[in-house]
Symmetry: C2
Subunit: 274 residues, 2 copies
């Protein structure tokens, strides 16, 4: 952990402009949201279409050069997946020299990670909201070609799905598997998070309407994800679901429900926002 | 419901190129994924940055001109939220006349909706996968200015959070609320879905390794979202949580768990995929 909390710089493209009191630029907060999100949305510009490409991908932040780095440190994002080389080499610079420099940096991409934590039901539709945690990262992606780094990323990503799964499956990957697996490394330029917690907030006029208060239920429906009872596959021969899976399930299910419930009572960043 | 199942056209930018057996272009399938997703990721190109803008937004598909249209029909996507007018008028055409035409169509955007339905644990990290449903829509967004259409969209979106919530809150919105609420309408050009269901699939070599089969648990951890026990807000005066909320909670919670569990047994689109 660094001595002082590190923050991402606020660039014009990364600054939160609406509901600023919900914004958070701390690396630890942002990395935590990304690493707990089972699916990321990766977006980048296509050379032949006005529509950005959006791909759902599995990813995880880590540091190959310093694997013991924690969430508040400077980290890279490793993505499991494929982006065609045609797209990877896309740059839009008019200047040939600058274009070469840009290409080396990699493909500019925006990565989004979001959790819905609650449905906030207020007196009026307008004051309805969500409790949520949302993180956006901006960076440049390159293909990981170094074998040791690729292995590091594959283990990191596999263990993000279920902790300890890597060593509890058949490893290391063979040559064909290493060949067929693509890993992207995103060097992060900056990022931001937006978080809403708390209960409903209504306008003064509605709060003074006794008949309305007597008629409309207001509060929060907590929302959380559950890792359900495991279902054995067709060729499974291991009788009991292993402890590292069941222990982890119990923990994350408890944490997820607790977060969503506790978020209701935490009126952070709620100065005037809905 | 149309007599024949409608499909979106496969444009170069919308065609699924990897794991094609998981692709689905049926309007009903795609609209169903979008409408059941509590948060969409909306992406569009920024004029001043190589990084696309990505915004988490609430949205819902519907038809203002034919409100009784169902999920398999041609629908528009209504998004609750704000995109600065500076960005809304961004086009990149060199030709002034064409630029004007493009501006009228609106801001080109890509919208992603994803559900994670299960963690598929195989013998090797490489064969690990997710059960998931992912939909991508491509279209042009304009600001809804017609009051009746805006009201239609606001009711549609509010009721997508909790059915019947619109009439069970203080409506209609007053002039200030109508003014402060932005709704975008996205006219869809095309879209695609990608769906994975089923259990783990491993390579022949690993399936013949008796020691490995005896050591590694293989199967699926179903993943689903839960609408938890409602928590009353600070100024709530309605003693019991109303039936339309509790009835809906019971239903969606049952459906979500059932989908995730049943998906494990459904080996659709699994010809050779992992």
């Amino acid at each position: 952990m660094p001595l002082r909390e590190l923050q991402y710089p606020t660039e014009p493209y990364s600054k939160v402009n609406r509901m600023k009191d919900r914004a958070d630029y701390a690396l630890e907060t942002i990395h935590q949201i990304v690493n707990s999100c089972p699916m990321l949305h990766v977006s980048f510009q296509s050379p032949n279409s006005p529509f950005p490409v959006v791909l759902p991908m599995i990813g995880q932040m880590g540091s190959f050069s310093r694997p013991s780095a924690d969430l508040g440190d400077v980290l890279d994002l490793y993505l499991h997946g494929y982006v065609s080389s045609r797209l990877m080499n896309t740059t839009r610079s008019a200047d040939a020299q600058e274009e070469e420099k840009e290409k080396e940096k990699g493909l500019p991409m925006t990565i989004a990670a979001s959790h819905v934590d609650g449905l906030v039901l207020a007196l009026t539709p307008n004051s309805h909201s969500y409790n949520y945690r949302s993180a956006i990262l901006f960076g440049h992606a390159t293909l990981v070609t170094d074998t040791a780094e690729k292995l590091y990323a594959m283990e990191l990503i596999t263990n993000s799905v279920v902790p300890q799964r890597w060593t509890n499956s058949r490893v290391p990957p063979n040559a064909a598997e290493m060949q067929s697996t693509s890993v992207l490394k995103v060097t992060i330029s900056t990022g931001s998070a937006k978080i809403r917690t708390g209960g409903p907030h209504d306008e003064k006029g509605d709060l003074e309407d006794e008949a309305l208060l007597g008629r409309v239920w207001t509060g929060v429906v907590p929302v959380y994800s559950v890792m359900g009872e495991p279902v054995a596959g067709g060729y499974n021969r291991v009788g009991e679901v292993p402890g590292y899976i069941e222990g982890w399930r119990g923990e994350v299910n408890k944490d997820a429900e607790e977060y969503a419930r506790e978020a209701v009572g935490r009126e952070v960043g709620e100065k005037g926002g809905k």
